[in-house]
């Protein structure tokens, strides 16, 4: 299996190369890690979306995109995510492997240069270039993106549960900040954010594909030469180990199906003692062989989906289901009843093995997708100890029944959120 070759670029900046020759496309991405803060989340987000739309060399949106499509439809995109209470800002180039180019073009070099142009020489880096329209447009686009999260009721109810559950914790801050914060972003904020991120953020540059990484690495080294890197941000996530009392919260909307979201504190989060919690969550509700699927869906026919998900970066487990309004209590009781069984050890060795087999399949197939390879290693960027999919699985394999029971016993119910039809 492939491994990661890491090169040091400068203080807090690493270049990671994962050779994968089976793909017909390649990716170079730059990810920045900063503490999730209300006053900065929206500024950083607007900045990153702005970066992926143009650069000083191609200041016009259309000419920039013509350049991209000429490079076999290269995609330059931004993504903003949350790793616990850390905001992760990514700018990435996805491009076609030169081996299959029609006219022997070298795509990787040009694509990486273009990525560097957008990051290190954006339009606003020159005082002479007008970028007011770009700025206004990007703010508006981000507000629309935040609004569209309301349209997806499953996603919306999950976000609301997190917000209520972690009311006084950084985790309740949205990955893009809030609508109001975006509206308040000013042009000068963008330049400030850009400068401070380039000099203070933890940065991981990942390259996955078949091309020689040497030129790409040198390209980044040269670009970072002129940047003074100091006072690198410390990124940490505070874990609430136990719920105080159960919070209930209900909202109404003009919808057909009620959504039930139950948030639990698991005590353990990545990277400490979390392997047993992963296996416990899988047996409980993460597969079609789990207690939730077999009972809430198959036996009681209450829903189409009822599953649990372990947000390992924050140490939270959530159960989600879409049901008839009148079945909310029944479903809630059944979920808790099934969880009691986890605590009492009412599951078999076979259940554990099936869960582990499932986790193994999921881990070992990571190398077949550029996205998943990147995600797997990105999540570990801030940790000292690094796992490969194989070593990660070895840890899961060691988990035994009493450890699973132990992981279940320390779980506490924190919040029950329901979204129900108006009438």
């Amino acid at each position: 299996m492939s491994s990661v070759v890491t090169s040091f670029i400068c203080e807090g900046v690493n270049f990671n190369y994962i050779k994968q020759s089976s793909f017909k496309s390649e990716r170079v991405s730059v990810s920045m890690f900063v503490p999730l803060e209300k006053q900065n989340a929206s500024k950083n987000s607007v900045l990153f979306f702005l970066l992926s739309k143009s650069c000083l060399k191609y200041p016009d949106f259309t000419s920039f995109n013509k350049k991209l499509s000429n490079l076999y439809g290269m995609v330059l995109s931004s993504d903003v995510g949350k790793l616990g209470e850390v905001q992760v800002l990514t700018l990435q180039a996805d491009f076609f492997d030169s081996r299959y180019a029609l006219n022997n073009e070298s795509i990787s070099q040009e694509a990486s240069e273009l990525l560097c142009e957008t990051l290190f020489k954006p339009k606003f880096s020159s005082k002479e270039v007008f970028w007011d329209d770009d700025f206004a447009q990007e703010k508006d686009q981000l507000i629309q993106l935040i609004d569209s999260e309301y349209n997806d009721k499953k996603h919306y109810s999950l976000i609301r549960c997190f917000e209520i559950m972690c009311e006084n914790e950084k985790f309740s801050i949205g990955r893009f900040g809030s609508r109001e914060d975006v509206l308040a972003v000013e042009k000068s904020d963008i330049i400030d954010s850009w400068n401070s991120l380039l000099s203070k953020a933890r940065i991981e540059i990942n390259m996955t594909g078949n091309s020689d990484p040497k030129n790409v690495l040198n390209l980044f080294k040269n670009n970072f030469k002129n940047i003074k890197r100091e006072n690198i941000y410390k990124c940490e996530t505070k874990i609430t180990k136990k719920a105080k009392e159960v919070k209930y919260f209900q909202e109404k909307q003009e919808i057909n199906q009620a959504k039930l979201v139950m948030g639990f504190r698991t005590k353990f989060a990545f990277p400490d003692n979390f392997f047993a919690t992963i296996v416990m969550n899988t047996v409980f509700g993460a597969t079609s062989n789990s207690k939730l699927f077999l009972n809430v869906r198959e036996k009681m026919s209450l829903c189409y989906y009822c599953s649990s998900y372990y947000e390992k970066n924050k140490g939270i487990m959530v159960v989600q289901s879409g049901i008839k309004r009148e079945n909310i209590d029944k479903t809630k009781e059944e979920v808790l009843k099934q969880f009691e069984k986890m605590k009492n050890g009412e599951f078999t060795e076979e259940d554990i093995n099936t869960a582990k087999l499932n986790l193994k399949g999921s881990l070992f197939s990571i190398y077949d997708s550029i996205n998943r390879i990147n995600d797997f290693f990105l999540v570990q960027s801030l940790q000292e100890k690094k796992y490969s999919p194989e070593t990660f699985f070895l840890e899961l394999k060691k988990v035994n029944k009493s450890q699973i029971i132990g992981a279940a016993k320390v779980v506490t119910l924190d919040t029950i959120y329901t979204l129900v039809p108006e009438s």
Partner: protein, 424 residues
Amino acid sequence: MELTQIKSNRLEDSYFIGVHESGLKVYIYPKTTHSSFAILGTKFGSINTKFIDVETSKEVCVPDGIAHYLEHKLFENEDGDSFKKFAKTGAFANAYTSFDVTAYLFSCTENFFESLDILLDFTQKPYFTDKSVEKERGIIAQEIKMYDDDPSWKVENNLLLAMYHKHPVRINIAGNVESILRITPQMLYDCYKNFYNLNNMTLCITGNVNKDDVVDIIEKKIKVTSAVKPKIIFPEEPDEILKNRIEQKFDLAIPSFKLGFKEHVGKNDLSFEKIVFSDLILEVFASKSSKLYRKLLDENLINSSFDFDFFEGPGYASTVFSGESKNPDKVGDIIREEVLKFKEDGIKKDDFERAKKTIYADYVSFLDSCKKTADLLFHFSLNNRDYFSCMELAASAKLEDVEKRLKEILNPDKSSLSIVSPLK
């Protein structure tokens, strides 16, 4: 069963096709991946609600959503739930029903042949009882309700309602809460008998597999039965659209739209040239480097969700633009106006050359995923289309041929706009 190798010199890659004596089409695409993927599909989707029964020769009309219901129930055999069996091999199993097909699939990193065995087994052993069919009603009703709350699903459904008068593509894939109440075990058996004949099915396998081992297990597992060719009845569909605008209110924050341009489709499916050329035309007309995109963006009418697609199947085809917008009607007006200008001006040479590169690279990059590869081969098998030829065609298309195709599509008189908008 003999296999024929289909090669691409450009990609230095190949796949194999064969037809088993049962009539089952087999596609095998070996890859140097860690996982493998198998999909077994039949040409039976939500649009197949009327047919001539192979035994009685009588016309049969089944409730809306039955193909999807059958998909749910086929997993249950007399000896238990196949999902559970898959879980024990470590495979991830799933299934889907679309307008024209139903497919059963799994992916895995080990025990591939045990899982393939399960797949070939449960799909050949239908077992429906009153109790098991009854149990599923609550589950599927909640699945339908979930989609009823999904504006992106509704906007598409409504577009088809506006564009099509009679074609069953208008019908919700899962049916509705009332139609599924009428489904009985006997109806499921009837549909199975007519459509789950191996002559009507394809098995596609991609990933880390040896083709000879696959052939061995197929020879062992597949039962040869008498060939049945289902006779499907489709109503005559007019070329005109039914309505040019349809709107539904939802509890949401930003409106979504789909603008569809209906195309005439005769008895035969569209040729793959027509599909590839449509992709090229759309890339020139509406991608981020186009005049249209710029205009919509500058007027603040679209966001990053803007997309376009060529949608086709038995008896239906349309070009669809979609996205979120504060003013979907204005987007509709602009696209309709720009289409006319575009058709008048024709396609510029340099735009065309860029589009060829992009579409060619798109087609090739799909092969990065075992799942997508298997899915594509399955869909291509329905009309005996070859994927590599498609890819080559995108790379070598001639401008004059694509311009001819442009004359056939994107007629504003045959376009419908579907909008879902906020309550307030």
